[in-house]
Symmetry: C2
Subunit: 394 residues, 2 copies
């Protein structure tokens, strides 16, 4: 069974599941190959947490306080040390449906990876460069939350307007790309006008998910100036079904790259290890064969999840439970660490070889992307997968 | 009483109100100086509409079908022709609290005014120009829905990072601006993967509101490249409390400017009068005095509300009930028709004279912006007002 090693007792992620015996969506966790509905277990937890366990999204649970969530996690771990409970209440993952874990409030996607922005400038303009504000704060854009779907949902090739060779045309994208990302799910909200200090940022993060920011590069390229991406991305974004709580990631805390420029006070980090050592991988699936196209690591990001919370709220913008703050494409310095096809193919100019013997620049109908993230010691994210279906007719 | 002439029997907008006698938020309309809670009236309407009338947002009402809404509007008009009902159920507007009318799902802001984009390029780069895609479709960005507030809510000056004279600094914005806009509120939703044809676009629009897209130009200017605006706008957006239904705007339908370039099939309009003749006005309030700083008109927009719906969904992006599709700043060709201060002051370089004898480029703490929209014949939007409060301390 896939990803068994990602889901040890040290992980205990949260998701929303249903199955024949549990037709109503409810909060579940995964242990090895089993999915366990939390409301089935004898857990010690606050009343609001207990009631959150039967809801069809994780939002109410995410809104619980960190101490309530710690109590739940402790009690859950203890319950799952009892083999008889696992035997009684565990459902094989292949017999369970996994749903969009969160009712997404806002979706904000940032530019955390210096390698990504440099590689993208090279792909587009022919030489490495950086947006003027990149070293000053995590630059971002607001994404579209309505079209966020759970891993496994088909992704329809979008129609749009693009320009090639000076002529403008309307039709299916010819540059269907993926972006390898993680996102923080916000638990504790804030009021409009308030900001979150860097040292309090983790209190607002419920957990992390894998995120694929599907991108139609030709549509995006024509619309970007000056308002940024919109139709090139708003057609679909996929996330993993399992939310890994920050508590499970603590053993993998690590340093972030040193800042190359002094930053504003609100981004001056005092935590020694504000980032995470999380290995990322993306595969392109064509026919029966998979080709690993990227190996990257969260610890390579110039900006951390904590920075995203501080930047997003410094102007008084409020956080809602269910907001997603995503990393942007997480790339690395190596040629095997390009977190999207635009980087890897130099903007669609260089073919890449696939395991089935074919070549490609961007994604064809029927192709899939499977991304995974693994920390080690039995803690990982499983996968986030999507396959491309043909566009509507024009 | 202000704006009495905006709210004749020909208007009958929808809003969310409460007052001493009606402590629970519920659906209301305004007739001249009176606010009337719809659930008080003997109305003929479908069961789902009846139940929507007691909800604390307009979302359930907006999701009703156009024929259900037409029936409600007909029945409401008939009831309000009965003076005894008005006498019995009308509350003076000054004794009523008006609330955010809609639980905003997504917020998408487009660039409909050619004059605005040309004036902004002149303000920033010294000469008029246009984004490359402007004449091909309405270019847009996704805004932040969490920080949308109702008219009358104070607007806190945001903190942020900006660059001036080559040096980067963090602090309160020195370039607090407004943007004069209208927005369509989406009623009927769509499924992910579907698009809305131009001729069906009106079916998805519940009504229009005034919208002020507050903008911190220095923060925005530094962050824009390449991902578009985010922190420069996400701190606050104000909308009017009254949603004017499309039905009330039908007498004011008018032609749109001729297209200067052939557009893609999905934007080829067949309706003769796809736009609206709606006069817009903005005043800057300083101390006791108001200065009219802009007079504009919706009919000057190059792109229409119908175009926004078609463009937003052409890639399969779904609409949700409660989405806002906004026009961007609606400017005109004249010097009295600059819909934001950045245009009017050439990017903060030219002082403008105010009625109290002072000068200004951008907004100072204590200043307010009041925007109004009026169609004629007793149909208008009332106002959308906000006053600037000092920033948090750095």
């Amino acid at each position: 069974m896939a990803y068994t090693d990602h889901f040890s007792l040290a992980n205990l992620p949260y998701g929303i599941a249903s199955c024949k015996e549990h037709p109503e969506k409810a909060v579940a966790t995964r242990l090895h190959d089993l999915v366990i509905f939390l409301a089935d277990l004898p857990l010690e937890c606050a009343e609001n947490v207990k009631s959150a366990l039967t809801k069809p999204t994780l939002n109410d649970l995410a809104a619980a306080s960190k101490s309530e969530l710690q109590q739940l996690r402790g009690s859950l771990k203890k319950a799952l040390e009892d083999d008889s409970l696992i035997k009684k209440f565990g459902y094989t993952v292949s017999n369970v449906s996994l749903h969009l874990p969160i009712s997404v409030a806002g979706f904000f996607d940032f530019s955390c990876s210096k390698d990504h922005v440099q590689n993208m400038e090279e792909a587009i303009f022919g030489k490495k460069g950086m947006p003027p504000s990149f070293l000053h704060y995590p630059v971002g854009y607001t994404g579209t939350s309505s079209s966020i779907v759970v891993s496994g949902t088909k992704v329809q090739r979008p129609l749009g307007v693009s320009m090639a060779g000076g002529s403008v045309s309307f039709g299916p994208t010819k540059a269907m790309d993926y972006e390898l990302e993680l996102a923080a799910i916000i638990g504790k909200p804030t009021n409009l006008g308030d900001s979150v200090a860097l040292e309090d940022a983790d209190d607002h993060i419920f957990g992390l998910v894998l995120l694929n920011d599907w991108s139609a590069r030709d549509i995006q390229g024509f619309e970007m100036k000056p308002l940024g991406p919109m139709n090139g991305k708003s057609f679909c974004t996929s996330i993993s079904p399992w939310v890994v709580p920050l508590e499970a990631l603590e053993p993998f805390e690590t340093v972030a790259p040193a800042k190359e420029l002094a930053v504003s006070s609100f981004l001056s980090e005092t935590k020694e290890k504000p980032s995470y050592d999380i290995q990322l991988e993306a595969e392109l699936v064509r026919g029966e064969k998979s080709t690993t196209i990227c190996k990257s690591n969260v610890s390579w990001m110039y900006w951390t999840f904590r920075d995203l919370v501080a930047q997003h709220t410094v102007n008084g913008c409020n956080l809602n439970t269910g907001d997603l703050l995503a990393t942007g494409t997480v790339s690395g310095a190596g040629d095997d660490a390009h977190g999207c096809l635009a980087e890897m193919t130099k903007g669609g100019k260089v073919q890449i070889e696939l395991a089935d013997g074919s070549q490609t620049t961007y994604l064809q109908d029927g192709d899939g992307i499977r991304m995974t993230a693994y920390c080690g010691k039995g803690v990982g994210f499983g996968d986030c997968t999507g396959f491309i279906t043909p566009s509507r007719s024009v």
